[in-house]
């Protein structure tokens, strides 16, 4: 991973206006990263994923000197405020920002809001997180004001296209939902290119007291992309998080999700749908930290795996001592469509309190042959019956997306995806 150090040095030289403290932060984080290197299969929680592909190609940091080509057609979700980022570059003139929401560049956020910034980038056991701190070159701070009720979702579209050489971006998103605010934020990664690229994203989301946040993360990178992400939510008193993680893109995907229920009465629902084909490897780890009493957490993750793809889901719910009256549920369902597709999932519970309600479960199965026959006996052909059954499996989790425009968008993605997959079981 020699190229990373070279890129860091060039970045520090190039951004010579950066405050000394920020440079120190970068160098410190890189040192942390170098001590352990990239995760390997001996690491607890990382054993099913091979990151060596990131070492085989030298990625150059996308730099401000790159002219960002703006494609004529971009993925659109109806009735949204849009924040557009192309190849790592924020397109302010093409972005439509709502009132009561402050959007800042990272430099600006660092200057005006160092507290939020520093909390988000503290050293972390995840080497990708440290690498992001060292190399962060993209991203925004998005601050939703107290009491703000934002009707239309804020759609952050991070699009990668028109590459001529392999690039990487290390975006950092800092999102704060103010007290008593209500917002929907879509964090959307997509791409279209013949050249390999690597996204290493950190998203840090804080929900203040009584805030309601719907966070929809859509990862539909080009198959030439590698997408690594670290998403952390912290919920204050009575805050409510409804998150949905949709992933169908990139050849290598790993996301670490952490939910910290940091004050009483907070509740989180984190659901997800992964669609994998070809040789895609989609890996997610989620840790729910129940730190205080009277909090609830719900998870429903579904993976649909075709061809030679692999899906990994590692879920842990940790109920701290004192987090009484915790209600935690976790469900993982894998659907295998071919005999070469693989699913690894492990739900885990660690409970250090005694008055709690926790459940977890994981299932891996194939399409129900009885259901297929039932449909065929009604005149529906095999392929249609299979696709109906697969979409029925997906719909059960998609129903939890409350915004119909977002649901429609993901439904269209599912329909297109289904048209191109193989089913042999």
């Amino acid at each position: 991973m020699h190229y990373l150090e070279k890129e860091l040095n060039e970045l520090i030289q190039f951004w010579d206006e950066e405050p000394e403290a920020l440079r120190t932060l970068r160098s410190g984080a890189f040192k942390q990263y170098k001590e352990v290197g990239l995760p390997n299969r001996k690491w607890e929680g990382w054993q099913f994923t091979d990151f060596s592909a990131l070492e085989k190609t030298s990625y150059r940091l996308a730099s401000p000197g790159d002219p960002p080509p703006v494609p004529e057609t971009l993925p659109t979700i109806a009735n949204c405020n849009r924040i557009l980022i192309i190849n790592g570059h924020f397109q302010e003139n093409l972005s439509v920002l709502p009132d009561k929401v402050t959007v800042q560049t990272l430099q600006h956020a660092y200057a005006t809001n160092p507290e939020i910034f520093n909390k988000a980038v503290v050293n972390n056991s995840n080497p990708f997180h440290n690498l992001n701190t060292a190399l962060m070159n993209s991203g925004l701070a998005i601050i939703v004001g107290d009491n703000a009720v934002i009707d239309n979702p804020i759609h952050i579209l991070y699009y990668t296209t028109g590459l001529t050489e392999p690039i990487m971006n290390h975006p950092l998103f800092l999102i704060v939902a103010g007290a008593d605010s209500e917002t929907t934020i879509i964090e959307h990664y997509a791409g279209s290119t013949n050249v390999q690229y690597w996204q290493n994203v950190v998203t840090n989301i804080k929900l203040s007291n009584n805030a309601v946040l719907n966070h929809v993360r859509i990862q539909e990178e080009d198959l030439n992309g590698n997408h690594i992400a670290d998403t952390a939510y912290t919920l204050e008193k009575d805050a409510q998080l409804n998150a949905f993680h949709f992933a169908s893109g990139s050849s290598l995907y790993r996301q670490n999700i952490q939910v910290n229920l940091a004050s009483s009465g907070a509740s989180s629902t984190v659901n997800g749908l992964c669609l994998a084909k070809d040789r895609q490897h989609l890996d997610q780890q989620i840790i729910i930290n129940h730190l205080k009493e009277n909090c609830s957490s719900n998870q429903l993750f579904k993976y649909i795996l075709s061809d030679n793809s692999a899906g990994v889901f590692n879920g842990r719910v940790i109920v701290s001592e004192g987090a009484q009256k915790t209600d935690a549920q976790q469900t993982i369902r894998n659907l295998l469509l071919t005999d070469k597709a693989m699913a690894h999932s492990s739900p885990q519970l660690e409970i250090y309190a005694d008055d709690v309600k926790c459940s977890h479960g994981s299932t891996t199965g194939q399409l129900d042959k009885n259901a297929i026959f039932y449909m065929r006996s009604r005149g529906i052909d095999v392929r249609t019956a299979q696709l109906l059954l697969i979409s029925g499996f997906a719909k059960e989790v998609m129903e939890t997306i409350t915004n119909t425009n977002i649901d429609t968008y993901i439904d269209e993605k599912l329909t297109t995806w289904l048209e191109h997959i193989g089913v042999t079981l």
Partner: protein
Amino acid sequence: MLEIKDLHVKVEDKDILKGINLTVHPGELHAIMGRNGSGKSTLANAIVGRDSYEITSGDILYNGTSIVAESPEERALAGIFMSFQYPVVIPGINNTYFLKAALNAKRKYQGKTELDAVEFLKLIREKLAAVEMDEKFLHRAVNDGFSGGEKKRNEILQMVTLEPALAILDETDSGLDIDALKIVAAGINNYRRDDRAIVIITHYQRILKYLEADYVHVLINGKIAKTGGENLAEQLEDKGYSWLDN
């Protein structure tokens, strides 16, 4: 309409049907009775083409043509329908969507235009009334959370919507309370027409009190042991099956 000739069927390497002969003409209602394990459901599943039912010899003709090499969907499109003994739950697929997909597959096969959502809803409301089902069933996933009786009524709803020429009703009466039984029986009676045939498979004589069966067949150990009229069902109710053994 249906002609079964010396049919032998194996399930999981076990001989279940050992030479069935049965002819059903348009307009007729046949009842097939027998104990558990006598081969009643195997016969129904063999007619609709379930793949785990292996036909080792004999033939099934539908309108004069052998159908044993045809897929379940081809048989369905040609007009054969089975009401399932255990209707399958299909999570995530809306009942309306499922019915519409099935009906439009059939309309397409018949060279008719497919119905749009509005046309379909108009049609399905009429059909719902025929089986006294609430519209709320349309919005739920197929058979998901349905009671036993609701599942069976949903089967009859599918039958009256798809309008098959030959309906095989596999223990449609089992698990029904008396009110549901009457509704299902009325649905079947209303469905009868000179150009349609019904084969009802049942354990009990009770649903036959509400239907006029033209023939009653008793299946014992994979063969039709006796054929008679409605009075045969009454005899079975009184005497059981043992007098027919040997």
